[in-house]
Structure formats: structure tokens, C-alpha cells
Point group: D2
Amino acid sequence: MWKFLRTREEFVKSLKDGRSVYFKGKMIDDVTSHEFFQPVIAHLGLEFEIPENIQYRDLVTFAINEKERYSRYFKVPQDSQDLLDRSRIIDLGTRLGGTVVLLIKEIGTDCLFALNIITKQMDRKLRTGYFKRLSDYHDYCMKNDLAMAVAQTDVKGDRSLSPSEQEHEDYYVRVVEERKDGIVVRGAKAHTSYGPCVNEIIVIPTRTFGPKDQQYAVAFAVPANAKGVKMIASPFGGTTRSDFHNPISSSHHMVESLTIFDDVFVPWNRVFMNGEVEFAGPLALTFVQYHRFTAISYKAPILDLLVGAAILMAQFNGIAEASHVKEKIARLIAYSETIKGLTRQAALNCRKVEGLAVPDPVYSNIAKWHFASNYHQHIAIVQDLTGGLTVTGPSEEDIRSPETKEYVLKYLGAKRGVPTEDRLKVINLVRDLTASDFGGYNEILQIHAEGSIEASKMTLLREYDAKPCTDLARHLAKIKEP
Amino acid sequence: MWKFLRTREEFVKSLKDGRSVYFKGKMIDDVTSHEFFQPVIAHLGLEFEIPENIQYRDLVTFAINEKERYSRYFKVPQDSQDLLDRSRIIDLGTRLGGTVVLLIKEIGTDCLFALNIITKQMDRKLRTGYFKRLSDYHDYCMKNDLAMAVAQTDVKGDRSLSPSEQEHEDYYVRVVEERKDGIVVRGAKAHTSYGPCVNEIIVIPTRTFGPKDQQYAVAFAVPANAKGVKMIASPFGGTTRSDFHNPISSSHHMVESLTIFDDVFVPWNRVFMNGEVEFAGPLALTFVQYHRFTAISYKAPILDLLVGAAILMAQFNGIAEASHVKEKIARLIAYSETIKGLTRQAALNCRKVEGLAVPDPVYSNIAKWHFASNYHQHIAIVQDLTGGLTVTGPSEEDIRSPETKEYVLKYLGAKRGVPTEDRLKVINLVRDLTASDFGGYNEILQIHAEGSIEASKMTLLREYDAKPCTDLARHLAKIKEP
Amino acid sequence: MWKFLRTREEFVKSLKDGRSVYFKGKMIDDVTSHEFFQPVIAHLGLEFEIPENIQYRDLVTFAINEKERYSRYFKVPQDSQDLLDRSRIIDLGTRLGGTVVLLIKEIGTDCLFALNIITKQMDRKLRTGYFKRLSDYHDYCMKNDLAMAVAQTDVKGDRSLSPSEQEHEDYYVRVVEERKDGIVVRGAKAHTSYGPCVNEIIVIPTRTFGPKDQQYAVAFAVPANAKGVKMIASPFGGTTRSDFHNPISSSHHMVESLTIFDDVFVPWNRVFMNGEVEFAGPLALTFVQYHRFTAISYKAPILDLLVGAAILMAQFNGIAEASHVKEKIARLIAYSETIKGLTRQAALNCRKVEGLAVPDPVYSNIAKWHFASNYHQHIAIVQDLTGGLTVTGPSEEDIRSPETKEYVLKYLGAKRGVPTEDRLKVINLVRDLTASDFGGYNEILQIHAEGSIEASKMTLLREYDAKPCTDLARHLAKIKEP
Amino acid sequence: MWKFLRTREEFVKSLKDGRSVYFKGKMIDDVTSHEFFQPVIAHLGLEFEIPENIQYRDLVTFAINEKERYSRYFKVPQDSQDLLDRSRIIDLGTRLGGTVVLLIKEIGTDCLFALNIITKQMDRKLRTGYFKRLSDYHDYCMKNDLAMAVAQTDVKGDRSLSPSEQEHEDYYVRVVEERKDGIVVRGAKAHTSYGPCVNEIIVIPTRTFGPKDQQYAVAFAVPANAKGVKMIASPFGGTTRSDFHNPISSSHHMVESLTIFDDVFVPWNRVFMNGEVEFAGPLALTFVQYHRFTAISYKAPILDLLVGAAILMAQFNGIAEASHVKEKIARLIAYSETIKGLTRQAALNCRKVEGLAVPDPVYSNIAKWHFASNYHQHIAIVQDLTGGLTVTGPSEEDIRSPETKEYVLKYLGAKRGVPTEDRLKVINLVRDLTASDFGGYNEILQIHAEGSIEASKMTLLREYDAKPCTDLARHLAKIKEP
């Protein structure tokens, strides 16, 4: 049964396919056995284990008929309930992943939904035939339970210039040749999440282009091992392996790649946009509308963790009843629940476009903006409640060694009844999450992933219907419609 | 038909009942014809006009059977939809009232719902018979379509002392005598909204009391003209009458009273708590849970107005495309929609208590806190976009007088095509709303009405279920349950 | 002795000079006896009384020789000490004026200093002869102890357009005719502080102009009663006359005018710029560098008052020891002292330009920005500590009338030992200062006077020497100079 | 000449003295040759190199007479200029140390100055003879140019309990025995900065104690190799050794220890307080007044670096002219200069106590509070301007290896003319400083070092003279003195 769902083992095995992945200047033979990638892949394997758990099965999969059952990620959302369900499975996966999003189904389907909408629109307006290709590709990924990455963000060069004004033409991925059987693309995409550890890479434009930039209006999908696809993996973000000092990042971690398209051939059935320049912007934005909803959905676990860690630290340190501590915990709760509440509003207020439910961009972007622009301040609160010991505390060996153990256990106790080691474990959790390579990675991620803070503001402004507001102002000011 | 709904005229007439209302040191014979109260009462009359509008009828009333139709405010909420409807009618009345809440049904029913819950609990635990009285009183108010005020906030004396520690015993309303037919109460309640302009005054405790403070645990209702009830109305908050300079406050305005109970007799059928000291706190808090939901529901119109006025001013001044202006308008929108979204969440996440739907206090209080603690900053944004002319602009006479008209119209124009007078009208709107006696009244209201900012925080902390958060932290820190 | 200092009476008398001042659409015969202007002029009279007080004499005046002693405002600053002294006398006058700046010497001399610098630069570069004229005019004002206003801010029309692109040419004051004996100017300046109550009006450009806008590059001075000068006074900002309800604004208040130049002739000896378009911007900015220092100097009294009122209210209400109250008062103190400390730094770090000490624009603008962008939040703190009674409290008549007095005094008491009336007086002070027409006026003033928040930021950026910072970054990043 | 100043080599050699330092559970034979401590000691060696530089000599040393020249740190401050000089040398050392404070002279002399004041006060009030001892000890340290650490913060146990209420008596360092020749102390101090790398450890109380806690009122100094002193060094805060990836922390880094006093004997001549319980609090606070001034002085380099790195990144990424970027850089500048300006004010407003100049605690604490409570937000700004590449960028090997070099250099370029490698170097600088183990260490340091944010607030409140403020409020409210 469930023949369309892969096991963890099948997933891992599928990554041994001759892909070109580089780490620290060297091509990696087999990512699944490489010291750096192995834990990332182990973390991603969760995505394939969760459906095996009877407790989660009905949530994370859906049935087409009695025989076929697929990952629910692939279900094209048709109403608020579909979006709420989607939000819940994103939350669940991330929570089981120690607050680190899995993303090998989330982002790919965000992109498939956006392509679904835009290919329909292109077909209708330009009499192209993209939707059929996209629909076949969607089925292909779904039925093979594939792991997908999305490469959207071009490396961009000088941010103040358009693609054709840059120092060289390749700062944005572009079509360099059109053949009978397909296209050849060149360029590079920055920070592709999990690129080296997926089966498929879907590529879409990163922004609106002008008429001169037609060659950049391209969307397509390639297998991760396609000829000419080269991924240079980033080494940052926390790679220590101590369960004690890095309780999260030792077993949960992302990887990003600089993904280079070194004249990669893409056959027509995998090309979803090729020069339809007026649809590049809409595609980028529609993807973002799904993807920011994914973003705010996967924040819930880290928000809960910040609240939980802060409360534990306050209790363990014996300061839980101090007025300023209560104020700070109330702030953390308000921060967390505001984002979670607005996420649900984004699902409940969804828009129907081309038959798909699109999360409300007003609430998605407010939630994203609120999260990103206030994250650091709330990290500061957690660090404040945890204490200086976060970075001046002992090592694991100090609490194991007979030479030092006695001193550490005696002197680093706090509230009566709380084992010193438990206190140190929560301190370690806070350091790992907020004051380490991994914590730094998190800070950058919160600001930059799924679009910058500025992008959220601008989307909000563009999508907001202010007419009821200006009407009310006009009415009360007793002035007429313009 | 609709015999149970009163007309505006019936409402106004009902206020001529010999009540003791003082204004500027003098007792007022008839509030309905008094210069200060007349516009307030005209504003409140809206509450009775709205149901006559076919467009709003089904929303603002509900039918018990084919003959009986009542104000929907009296409908005891049983699920999220009831609360969402309630939120909508509060928004509607306030919107039609120029952002000034009507409140003569809202707060009274908030209190009736809280009493509904607590009288059931008292009856069950203490074998009292309060619920029957309350239920009869509820029907009485509903069937007579009465206007109600709630007098909750005691004058309190020294805030750091409990009632019995104060300089005199009467800083909190208390029972001074128990008679065969009822009780006699003494004390004073501060800032009773619309007290002088309602039919009924419902009194409940303002806080939790200790066992020594039994005499203060009292809840009851009296007609506004009950013997010994004396209301000293406050003169503040904007009383100018220029449609031009004060487009809102010239026709929409609240009034508050210091409400004195000078040994007032209350018959038993109007007594809903009398010494059950352990229920004083729960009653105060349950009322607050309904009332903070009312509070955040009636903020929507002023939030929309701030957004609308800011956008109009930016357009009229020709600065709408400036980057900092867009950023500021985006902030206003995010502020507004965060509160509106969380309000809906409070209804959707409601709790069932004694058969009633109670708005989720977590979301209510986050919304209230967010609103109150950020209001002034957003006022600053609107003032920033409006310009210095807000307080240095001309008077109405300057734009009418032949001596000055020409100069004012010529020189105070801004964006081509926008009539100077329209620009000045929106400037006046902003001044009235934000930089005037009325604007000051609004600022104080936002901070203090329906409980202080500190109260919102503390309620949030108390009501929040943090266990999922601490469980996640324990799990990831690899420590056991305590 | 002191023949060069005028008395209050001489000042008042000097305003009866046939000037054209309009109020509510009507020309005013004599401002000194007009109900609206009289209290403003009484307030301004303080400027002439202060030097008569032996306690202040040496501070507020300076001697040229044994016979001649002038207002210190006219002393051209040559070092930090001169600027510190200037800051102190601005603070003193404002403090004695109940936190309302006097400004009839401050702003005029700010402008004279800027003209001093720029006329020297024009003379040197363009071989004009402006400095001599300016120097004579400076002496004239000083020796006659004149009250001056500065009209800088043009009405501007559409803010996104330059002067010559506007709907009509007169949105910025301009030269419409050049005669043998002088120039003729036309246009209007917005919100001229105290315009109707001074002797001299000094006019300078409000911004940088391009080469097409030569006619707008004009600086000059006219007597307030010059033919064609018409001032339309604004009626806003608090004009109640109750000592009890409005303890500050009943006796201290500003007035602004829309100042119209209806083809006003200016003789050459009063013209300080006429078409030198590349110096318009530098003049505007140099004035602003002095004037923002004036601005931050006159904020000290209102900052002290906010701190003082908050502390008194906390004490009177019995909440002074609550943790959140202490936090809030600490915030107020930090806000206040940050601005005061940075103000002194602006004097201590002054720059020498053309022999004059110019306050450091980095510190001035940081102080101004900090003040303006955080004012409303700190007002919210004071309102929070004061309580809802701020706008729901009784009138003066209520505490005098035998009908109500007893109730008010009994029930509105708070901390033992604090007279109820004292408590109400401080509440009134807070309402007057923060939640009234006058409070609204203050809010707008803080944002818009002496340049907007955006202007402060941009000046800061332009004036800041970031090279030591980028050098350090380059050094630590191990990259070379560009 | 300069016989009283040590060389780097003499300093390093002095640390080979048999001290008991533990790292990862093992005692270290020789810290100077240990992989972990060696770079820390190399960093600290700067303190001894700086005086050899002719450019800095006069600033960082002072002469007693023609022969004797000492480190200026030891100069007892007598006026504002001494404090300004002290601030400059702290800034200089930290700047040369790559923004990482050296602190082996700073904190020790902060403590010697505090002991100077308090021993005088104890001697006068209690007729003790501590000042002579302290004075001799000061000379000893100065003449031997010793490196000092201060161990103040007790491990504290349950923060809500006083020392004598704790689970065991040793949560605060205490006197366990008094002998003829001295005292024996027991307990542990947390996070002693540079403890394992100094010559002397000075110990003072961390807080005010009650009369029951007399045994905890103890101050003394011991050599770092005193018998029973055991230091467990913390391994956190960034220990990578790549110049490229960690341009700062690879060569500049602190170390902290848990410093255990395992029944350590202290001879009388090194005991500066022993049971004078009412002076424990004043000593703790006086130290803090000096030390917070040190704190805000050593922040200047990191503030400059944040500004500089942000500007370089904006330029290199081609976004320097975007409006939101300019706003963000202006915020960074204002943040930086506010703290630097207030630091100078703290020196200029110093108080004279017992002949010593004490930095003004109002300005010190405002500066400290402002710094600590806004640090994270400004880090977020720098991270925002730097981009996601901060944690998704390539490794050093990727830009060296022939397999990947070409792609990285081509695709990660940005603004024309800026070498890709330079851009990556600044990105690395930002990651090292803000988003790494070292960046996390910095975040914790900013919040917790030299006292918590709450401590700064409380000190500010206690030290602020609010009388002029309440006087002004009383005067304007027209109420009398209490």
C-alpha cells in the first residue's frame, strides 16, 4: 500500500546520482556519506518518516482514491481549510525537526502552485501550452514523492542595476540558446535551500523585468544531477556535533548552495516560461505569496521554543516572579501569538485565483514583517533571562571530569530542586539557538529568507485595499470622491 | 411590529426621569435639553436608528420568534459566529458614530454575560439563587430595549492599599446595610461611560478582594434615577461645535461621570452578588474578557480612519510616492490589520464557559495591548504626514472672509487638482482626531479604557497555556518533566 | 544705564504700528489689546523682564563696553562656551515661560548668524557686498533690542515639485521686480512663529534651488508693518483661560501666522541675497544648524516637566513603588537626559566657520531626531501614570460648588496626606500639557518645528564623517583603501 | 628607562606560575603554550606593546617624576580630563584589539578606585585601617605593571533568595575562618573576564547585604596562583582560526572563568573589607560606577565598526542610495554617537568623592542602557544590509580552488569595480561580528557584562536628582512643596 510514498532509505539512495556538489573547493563524490551533508540528509529524512507514524498519517497525506495516497504537500489548495492543513503540516515537520524547517516539499509545491496559476494565465493570454506541461510535472513529482528545491534568487550583481545593465550578462539566469528540443540556460542562483540534497530543482525569475530583459524571463525544472548544474555548498551556520553544547544544531541543520547553471540544457517539457517577460513579475510574486505563508507557518515552533526556554530559564534561575521578568515573558508570548494568529488569518482570508486558494498577502506580509523586524529584540529578551553564563559557562567535559565536576555541580546550581545539569542544558539550548554559529544563521535567515523586510512592506502596500479607509476619511472630512 | 425595539425619540424621552446629574457644579434639570448633553444624546440616538435601516436590520437584531425581535447585543453568545456578529455590530455602530463608540448596549451586555456565568457558578457552589434574578433582569433590559452603563472602576484611593486599608472605607463601593427587602450601598465609581445618558447602571467589583473585604463584594443594578445616585459629569474631551474645525467631535462625543452611590437602596431582585468575596475577582475578570473584546472591536473604525486620513494627506500634499511616506503608511496598515486580525482570532478561538462563548483572552489582550501601547506612535505618523499646518492653519472664517479668502485659497493649495478647501478639511480631521481636546481624550481613552496596559499584560500571562512551549524546550534540551 | 535694553512696556507699545494682522477673517486694529493676542504678547514680555532680574542679568546680557549692554542673544558665538551660554538662556526663558519658548530673540539671531556666514562667503566668491549690510542690520536689531521672527518655510504647493514646476509661480517667495532702490517680493511663508507679535521679519529660502529657480534665491528683512505684509494668524493650539483646567496654556501660548508678501518693496540695505542661487541651500542649512540647536535647547524645560509630573502623579496615586512605574519613570529620565546631554555635546563639538562657532550638526540632529521620534511614546507614559481621570475628572466648579464639592474631595483623594485638590491640579497639568488642544499643538510642534524628522536624518547623514568607521571596517576586513 | 612598564614577553612569562586553570575538564600545565589560551594571551599582549609605540606613549602612560612612568590606567582620576583620558586609552586599546576589550588594566583599576573611596569611608566611620593597605596594594600593582582581573559576580544560586537563605552557604564568596595572619575564603565567582591570563585577582562583593550576611562582606586580592584558587575556563565564544572566515575572532578573543575559592588563605595586607556589611553595597556600586564608564568607553570601536561595515556593504552591494538604506545607516550613526556623546558627558559631569573623580552615573547608565537595549536591533540592521550571503556564502577554499574559484568570483561580484573577494571579506567580517559563535558571545556580553539592563535602570533611578523636575511640575501646577 501507499506505493507513492517513499521511505527514508529510498530518499537517501536517490541522492546518489552523480550530482556535482562542491564543498570547500572540492567536488563531493557522494553527499549521503559525506561528513558535512550526512546530518543534513538525516534531518531531511524526517519528511519521509512522518507519514509512517499513524498519529500523523491522515494529516500529512491525502488520498486520491482507495489505492493512491500522496504527500499532502502536493494537494492544490482550494479553500481556507486546505491552507490551514498545509500550515499545520509545515508546523509539524519543523517542530519534529527541532525548529529547523524541512522544506523539501514546502517550497517546491509553493512554486508548483504559483506556476499552476501563471501558466493558466499565460496560456489564456498568449495561447501558449504551459499548463499541460506543468500539470504533468506536478504529477511526476507527486507520484515519485520527490524532494524539490526552488532556485529563485539570482546573484544579482549590482542591486541598483537591471539585468541588462550589469557588468556581465549572467548576473541573472538567462536563456543563452534555443534548440529544437529545448533551451540552454546560464547563470547562478544564490542560497538555494537544501539544493545539494533534493531530487529536483525548480527555477523561476526573481523579479519583474523590463522589455529589454526578455532572455531572463525563464522558468524550468531540472533534476539535481542535470549536466552543467553545479552546486557550491555553504559551510556556515553551525556544524558542531556536541549533543550537549548544541542540542539542536548537532542534529538539525540546513544547507544552502550557490547553484550554477553552466549552460544547462532543459527539454521543452520542463520549460514553463520562456521569454513571456510580462509574466515574470507575476510568477515571482505569486510564488512569494505562497512561500511567505510557508515562512510564517514554519516560524511557530521556534516561537514556541523561545517562549518555553525563557519560562524555564526564569524558573530555574529563581526569577520567575520578578515583575520585569513577567513583562518580558508576556512580550515573548504576544510576539509569538501575534504571528501565529495572523498566519491563520492569512489562510482564512484567502483569495481564489484560477481555482486555487492563495493565502491573503496582507496578513502573510504583516506576519512576516512583524516576525522579521522584531526577532532580534525577542532574542535579546531570552538572552537577558538566561544570563551571562550562556557564553561563560562550562564545557560538557567540565561536568563529567572528576577534577571539576564537583565544583561545577555545586556552584552552578540555582533554584532548589532543579538539577544543575538541567539548568546547564537549557542554557546550552539558548546558546545554540541564539548565541552561536547556528544562532547567527537563524538571525540572518529571519531577516532574509523568503524575501527581505522591505519586500514584505512593499507587497503589503501593493496588496492592501485602502479604499474603505479613504472613503471613511472622506466621509468624515465631508469631502467628495475625487 | 418590532414592538421591543425603541425609537430614537422613545430613548431620548426616557432620559427625562428626574435623575441627579451635575455639570460644572450644578444639578441639571433635564439632560436632554442641556447644551452639553444634548449632542451626546443625539450621538447615542444612532443606536436606535440603525435597526430601522433595512440594510443593517438583520445584522443588528435577532428574532426569538416571528413576533419578537430584539437588539442583537442581548443575544447570549454561544459560538464563534455569535462573537463575530457581535464584533461586526460594534464596529458598525462605532463607524456610523464617527469612530466614537456608542456603548450603551455593548458594555451592559458584556456585563450581563459575565454575570450570567458567575451567578451560575455561585449558585452551584454556594447554593445561592442569583442566576434567576440575573436572567429576569436580562429579559427586562432586552424587552425594554434599555440603554445601560456599567460602573466598575472604583475611585480606589491609594492604589497600593486594599479597600480596608484606605484612609476611609468608601474608596470602593460597599454594602453599608442589609435590609429585609434589599441592601444599601455607598461609594463612588470613576469614569462611568455615558452614565448620565442611560436607563440602567450595572455595578460590579473592580478587582479581587481578600477575606477582609467582604462588604466590597457586591454586584447590582439600579435605574439611573435611583434615589441617592448622583452623577458628576466630566467636561473634558472636546466640546467645540464647529463642523469645519472639529468635523468629528462637533457631532460625536462621549461623556463620563463620577457616579456616587450616596446610600442607595437596591431591592433584592437587582442584587447579583452580596458578600461572595471569592467570586468578586472572577466576576471582574469575566466582565473584562467580554469587554476587552468589545474594546478591540470598536477600534476598527478609528484604525481605518487613521490609515485613510494618512493616505489622503500624503496624496493631497504630493508626497505619496516618497519612500519614507510609503514606509509610514505601511506601518499604519500593519498596525490596523494586526489588531483587526487578532480580534477575529479572539472570536474564532473562543472558550465555552457555562454554555456561553467567551472571547479568547489571549488574543483579546494581545490585541488590546498592541493597540494601546502603539497608538501614540501611529498618531505621530499621521501628524507627520499631515504637516505643521495642522495647528498653524487658518480658521474657517479665514477661508470665507473676502479679506483673506483669496490668499488662503491661493497659498494653501498643494497637489494640482485638489481643492484647497478639501486639503484643509482633511487637515482639520487630523487635528480634531489627534491634536485637540478630543484627540487628547482619545489618547487617554486608548491607554486607560477597558483596563490598563499593565492589566492586559497580566491577563495575558495568566490565561496563556505555556505548557506546549515549555514541553518543547524540555524536549529539545533533553531534560525530563519536573 | 542699559539704554539698549527695552522694557516690557516699550516692547508692547512698539507693536502698535499699523501692521496688517488678520484673525478669523478680520483685520485686527491693535494686536496688543486683542483678546487672542494679548496673552501671547504678555507671555513674550517675559523676554524683556528677565534681564531686569538681578539673578539672571549677567547671564542674559553682555557688555560691549562699560556703557553698552545688550541681550546676549545677539552675541555672535565664537566658541563652545558662547553656545553653552546661549543654550542656557534659551532654557531659562522657556522655563520661565512655562515650557513655551519665547523665540523672539532666539530664531532671529539664529538667522543673523547664518546670514553672517553666508554673506561672507558670497562676498568672497561673488564679490558682492552683503556682509556689510547684514552687519549693519545686526547692529540695528541689537541696539534697538528688537523682537524678530523668521519666515523660512514656503507654503510649497506640491511637495514633489520644484518651485518653477508648480501650478503657479508663487508657492515659494520670489523676486518679482528689481528696482533701482530695492526689490519687490511676492509669495507666502507658512507658520511664522510669533509673526504678528514681533518688530522685524527676516526671510530666507527654505531649500536648495536649481539654476531655473534663481528668482527664489532671496533673503531680506522687513519691519512687521511693511506695506504688503499680511499675516493671517492661526487660531489653534489652546486658548482656554482657566488657570485651573489649563494651568500652562491659559497664560503661555504661541501664535503662528501665514505670512503673505503681497508685492512688498524691500530697500537694498535690507536685501541679503538676490539671485545667488547656489547659496540658497547653504543659507537654509546654516540657519537650520543654529536653529536646531535652539530647538534642542528649549526642549529641556518640557522634558523636566514630563519627568516631574510623572513622578508627582505616581506618588499621589500611591503607585511610586510599583516595578512597572519605576521602569516608566526611568525611561522618561533617560529620554530627557539623553537629549540634554547631546545638546551640550553639540556645543562642545562646535565647528568654526567664518569665525563663528556653529553647533555640531551631528549631535544637534541626533538630539532633535531622538526627541521628535520618541515624544509621543513618552507622552503615553505620563498619561499612563496619570490615569483615566485626566479626561473624566471634574471641573473646577465641581470642587467649588457646595452641591458637589464634598463628593469630589472625598472620592477623588488618593494617597493619604495628599490634598485631593493638589492631585487634581497635577492631573490638570498633565491634561493641559498632553491631552488638550495645547497638548495636540505640542505634539505637532515636536514633529514639525525646526524641520521634520526626515530632515534631521538626512542632515545627520550628510554631516557625518564616516571615514574613521569605514577605515576601521576595511582594516579589520583586511581590504585596501579603494 | 621606563623600568616600571613590562614588555609583552615579561607579561607572558609571568603567567607561567603554577596557577590552577582547567579547560574541558583538565588542568592546564602552562596557559601560555596551550592552544586555547595562547591567542587570548597574544591579544592581551597588546596592552604591553601599545606604550612602546611613540604615537601612543604620552597618552597611555603618565610620569610621576622624571624617572618613573607608569601605565595611565593606574592614575587616580581627579577631574573630568583624567576621565576623558581614561576613556580614550580604553577606546584605543579596544580598537587596536579589533573591538575586543583588553581589560587587564581597566577593570582592576576601576576596582582599585572604588576601594580607594570605600576604604577611606570605612576608616573614617569605623576607625579601620584599610586605606593604607589598599594604597600599598595599588602601588604594588602599578610598579610591577600587573595584569588584574576582578571577580565580583557571585554564582548566586536562586536569584530570589539572599545569601543566607540559599540551599547552601557558599553561593556567595564568604569568610569561613579568621586567623591571626589573615582570613580564609570560600565560594565561587562567575564569569571572571581573563581570569586565567592575569597576575592578580581582586574580589569584592556583588550586592548589598543585610545584617545576617556579614560573612559575605569581604574584599581582598590574591595572586592568580594562590593556593586554592581554581579557574574553570569557558570554551565558548568563537575559537575558529580562519583569518578569512573569522577576521576578528581568529586573533582577538576573551576568555572567562568560573573562579573557585576553595578555602583560600588571604594575608591581612590583602584584605580590604572583612565584615563591614553596611559598606558592601556601596563598594559594589562604586566599582560599578567606574566600571560602567569603562564599559561605555570600550563600546566605541564596535559601534564605529558597525557603522563602517554597514556603509561598505551598502556600497559594495550597490544599494547605498536607496532611501531605506540611508535611513538604516542614519539609525546606526545615531545609535553610535548617542552612546559616545553620553560617555563624554559622564566624564564632564563627574562627581568628586573622597578626592576622586567618579563618572556621572546618570549618563553612564543611560549610555549603558541605551547600548544594551538597542544592540540587537542595530545588529539586525547590519545583517539586513549585508544580505543572506552572510550565512550562505562560499568558504575560503571555494575562492582558492581551481574547481570553483572561477564561478565564485564571477557570480558573487556586485558593484562594478569592487573585487568579489573584498565583498566577501566584508561579508565575513559581518558574519564573524554578528552571526557566529563570536557574534553570539558579543550579544550576550552586551546584555550582561558590567551589570544587567535592569541594574542600569535601577542605578539611574537611584542616582537621578529629580527635585528640579518635581519643583517645576509643582510650580506650574500651582501646588506647594509637600
